[in-house]
Subunit: 253 residues, 2 copies
């Protein structure tokens, strides 16, 4: 069971869109996936037609210690989701105490491991670097970092890397990092400059497939579908399919 956190505290870089479509691409190879919506705004759940105000999910796992299996919702043949749950915001706004408050997700997944046969657990993170992001980071074996090709994204990236390295140094743990360029405009000089900068800074860590800006990717959640179900011949479907392939085969710049 491999645990991936899709993480970037910068807003709107395609974390949710990547979680939705990358996992769907992975699940097409007979793999069993558990999705975890770690964003109190519940957008990943929204993509599967789960309204944020009526569900319980990760909130009860982290706040009340419930088992993950208690709150799962099957959404596809081999994809289950643990929705955010309406109370998840309390992890960030209400004071959580205890030395292990960063490990609650880690521990809940360790219990789950014994009872289920997921190949991948993929965690959609919020645009923040608080206790929820911490839980995702400490639960994860690997992190997938979507980055857009613009200046403020670069600022956000350097900040993210500092935070992650800090935590990893303090807690003496390492996660494998993968970068994916998202919302990519192939003809923009800025996007290509940013792409080169990231490749220089993170050799052998930037996945070869970039995800191009493609309106179908913005449309599919409105139909409760992944890009493959909504528009399988689109650039969006092609790119996420290639991304999954590159990830599995280890194709980096």
């Amino acid at each position: 069971m491999k645990i991936l956190a899709v993480m970037n505290q910068k807003g709107g870089v395609g974390k949710t869109t990547t979680t939705l479509n990358f996992s769907h691409a992975l699940s097409q190879n007979d793999r069993k996936i558990l999705l975890i919506d770690a964003d109190p705004q519940g957008h990943l759940g929204n993509c599967y037609g789960i309204a944020d105000n009526i569900s319980s999910g990760l909130d009860e796992v982290l706040l009340s210690g419930d088992a993950i299996s208690h709150h799962l919702k099957p959404v596809r043949e081999n994809v289950d989701i643990l929705p955010a749950g309406i109370r998840l915001g309390e992890m960030e706004t209400k004071s959580q105490t205890g030395a292990n408050r960063g490990y609650r997700l880690h521990d809940a997944l360790a219990l789950e491991k014994n009872q289920t046969d997921y190949d991948y657990v993929i965690i959609d993170c919020p645009p923040a670097s608080g206790l929820l992001a911490m839980n995702a980071l400490l639960a994860a074996d690997e992190i997938l970092i979507p980055v857009t090709g613009d200046y403020l994204a670069l600022q956000g990236l350097s900040r993210l890397i500092k935070v992650v390295r800090n935590i990893e140094k303090r807690l003496q743990r390492q996660t494998k990092k993968h970068f994916v360029l998202t919302r990519f405009y192939e003809r923009r000089r800025l996007a290509n400059q940013i792409k080169q900068k990231i490749i220089q800074h993170f050799p052998n860590q930037v996945l070869k497939s970039v995800i191009r800006e493609n309106v179908s990717l913005a449309e599919s959640p409105g139909f409760g579908k992944s890009i493959f179900e909504y528009r399988p011949k689109s650039h969006g479907a092609e790119d996420y399919s290639n991304l999954a392939k590159d990830y599995l085969e280890g194709n980096y710049y």
Copy 2:
């Protein structure tokens, strides 16, 4: 002194880009502007070349009770900025107590009012609905809500409106709301559908000028410039100039 909060808890909808360029357009009419970076990620400061790790600013105002004037940085002839400051994240992560913790910015600005002659105070908010957003909301006379033309943005918008109405009802206060469509693709059916939905839901509140997707808007922060300084003939400059005009003249759909 009119106080505007640029607010939307959805990530990457153009809050910072709007704060930067809309205020610059306003300042061109001889108006004196105070910008407040209420996002611990400090992106607005980044747009003015202020590195996040060396400044103190709003953090000291909210956490230590310092006066705003103590931490201002003049960035243009009639534009000052109160940067986020390196400790601002503590407002969200460390438990803040006291019945008035939501009013700290409101009170700091009330003090400032007596000593300065700003025409506008514009607050860039983070992609979160925590204590910082609360402080911005309770300090503001008006809120400017950037919205992108896609499905997840609509989900985020309905959530934002619920949160804001809740707070306003509880605290018996009303802010005037303005919506602006950002990162707008004029030819996308989805964008136009979302635009129509928002206009239907919020008649007389959606500013007539939409901000089109324009790479110059993504590039200008990298040069420490507003769009007017970087590329005054671009669509981005045209749109933000028109937006300021619509705001001042009250032009809505």
